[in-house]
């Protein structure tokens, strides 16, 4: 029974990771931009949720408000800064987004302070279901799992069954060709970037009650995100899903069985994939 519960833990963590990684893989795959500031987007989402939940007293209100703000910030960032990076060397993308991380961290410190904050679980979901005679499972975590699955389904639908999704997929495989066929690339890019940021912010917002809101929370999760994107395949949503679940599983099981080596193993797999199948699991060579 406990193995099943650990599996549940792994899936919940993996799905949350997917939410975050999907944004990163889209930005990376379609625009070709290495965005180190993606972790900061996660943090922004969490802090916005914390702030508005405190202000309005309701997390249900705070999350949509946060998403709208994140979308606006995303559009602004894209047009002002990121659009200049598309033709630049990856080196400059790394550096600029690295600088952005510093800026966001300090803005966070100025606006919200440096303490660790808790975010209250909405009253509706604040109870636990007993699973065994000793262990109960918090319903909010089940809620997160369900929401992530829903978003994953929505993403899949949009990418594979709509026109916009078709344009996105075209842009991922050949940007110039797509542009010459009449796709409005600048607009598409701006939208994709803003959506990517929203996905990250949304992940941060719904995770806030279970992970707390604290300085540096973006940096911690950023590297794992990159691992997921690389293993799954840059630009592939399907790959991101497979890789997120795999990493979620490795992390959860690793914590319990071999805490010392689980992180090393994860990075080793990332390195091996890069060396022998750099396109990732889900992409064709």
């Amino acid at each position: 029974m406990f193995y099943l519960i650990q599996l549940l833990n792994a899936v919940q963590y993996g799905l949350l990771l997917f939410l975050l990684a999907s944004g990163l893989t889209l930005i990376f795959g379609i625009m070709g931009v290495i965005n180190l500031a993606h972790g900061s987007f996660y943090m922004i989402g969490a802090y916005l949720a914390y702030w508005f939940a405190k202000l309005t007293g309701s997390l249900w209100l705070a999350i949509p408000i946060g998403i709208v703000i994140a979308f606006a910030i995303g559009l602004l960032l894209e047009t002002a800064i990121f659009s200049r990076l598309y033709k630049r060397d990856h080196l400059y993308q790394v550096l600029l987004t690295f600088g952005l991380i510093l800026i966001f961290e300090e803005l966070r410190s100025i606006l919200f302070g440096d303490e660790v904050h808790g975010v209250a679980i909405p009253a509706l979901l604040d109870y636990s279901i007993p699973l065994t005679d000793t262990l109960s499972y918090p319903v909010y975590r089940l809620f997160i799992t369900a929401v992530c699955l829903a978003v994953a389904g929505l993403l899949y639908f949009v990418i594979h069954k709509t026109r916009i999704g078709m344009m996105i997929r075209a842009g991922t495989s050949n940007r110039e060709m797509a542009a010459s066929l009449g796709v409005n690339i600048p607009l598409l890019f701006a939208l994709v970037f803003a959506v990517g940021m929203c996905l990250a912010a949304f992940a941060g917002a719904i995770a806030a009650p279970i992970s707390s809101v604290f300085p540096g929370m973006g940096n911690q999760i950023l590297i794992i995100c990159f691992v997921v994107v690389v293993i799954g395949g840059i630009g592939s949503i399907n790959g991101a899903m497979i890789a997120s679940l795999a990493i979620g599983f490795a992390d959860t099981v690793g914590k319990v069985i071999a805490a010392e080596y689980s992180a090393i193993a994860v990075y080793l797999v990332m390195a091996l994939i890069l060396l022998w199948r750099p396109q990732g699991i889900a992409n064709k060579a």
């Binding site: 790394v94 550096l95 690295f98 600088g99 952005l100 510093l102 690389v230 090393i264 060396l275």
Partner: protein, 335 residues
Amino acid sequence: MIPITLPRTVLIAVGLAAALFPLIGATFYIQLGAKIMIMAIFALSLDLLVGHTGLVSLGHAAYFGVAAYALALISPKYEAANLWLTLPAAMVVAALTALIIGFFVVRTAGVYFIMVTLAFAQMLYSVFHDTKLGGGSDGIYIYVRPELIIAGFKPLDLENPVQFYYFTLILLVFVYAFLHRVLHAPFGRALAGIRLNEQRMRSIGFSVFAYKLGAFVLAGVLAGLAGYLAACQFGFVNPDILAWQQSGLVLMMVILGGMGRLHGAVLGAFSYVLLQEIFSAPALLGAYAKHWQLGMGGLIVMIVLVFPHGIGGFLDIALRRISYRRPSGARTDGT
């Protein structure tokens, strides 16, 4: 392409100023100066890789950290280690690490190279952070600095801040001169060729893999030297010195100072540490001093967007060695 260099008179003037500095500075600033020089060696090593060979590594701190940990692990607990033994040992450890990792990563290119160097560095970080090899997240302390003894005679006492400063200065000058020679030698020219057009170099008959690996290992060894000195200076190593933030930081220094120029790397290290001190001095900025990274981040964004040649580039324009060019930089890796 001839690497951009400073006129000899300028180099001598700077060297002289650096040598005379300890006579007028307070101890804190002498230690700061030593720290700047250690970072300069680190930045020089990365510049060889990024600026001259065109290999963008986001995991360079791995070799810096591995050498530092080597010193910490080899040093006896409460006595001084022997510099003649530990320094070469640390550099050999860094070289081996770079060789092994390089053997795998140098095959890749472009964005994959960036990611895989990051992956290996994080792997090493996890080794020191999670396993019992290092002291875990708390790190390891080196209580006594290594000793420099020649035939029973001690020419330099590294515990003395001024002497440590001079020791570091001598090493920096040596590394700078060494790299200067290397870059003007056939090996360096080949690296420049690889940076500009790898395909062409391969078609001419150069073993591109060997040259890139060579550059990678050389850069790793020099980073190891910097790491060793850093461990000496504050007597402390901790997994954070291997983390991606540290790799990003040294990359930032290289760009800040001006990529592809040796004096750029030194300038970058100097400017970064100086700016950090200035931005974080409560005496100057009061309550906002604690948010110094805001200024630093803003500066980096500005440099990338507006002036990617960095401070060194600015200097070179003043010296009229290059003309001003707006950033256009089409990507050369085909992604």
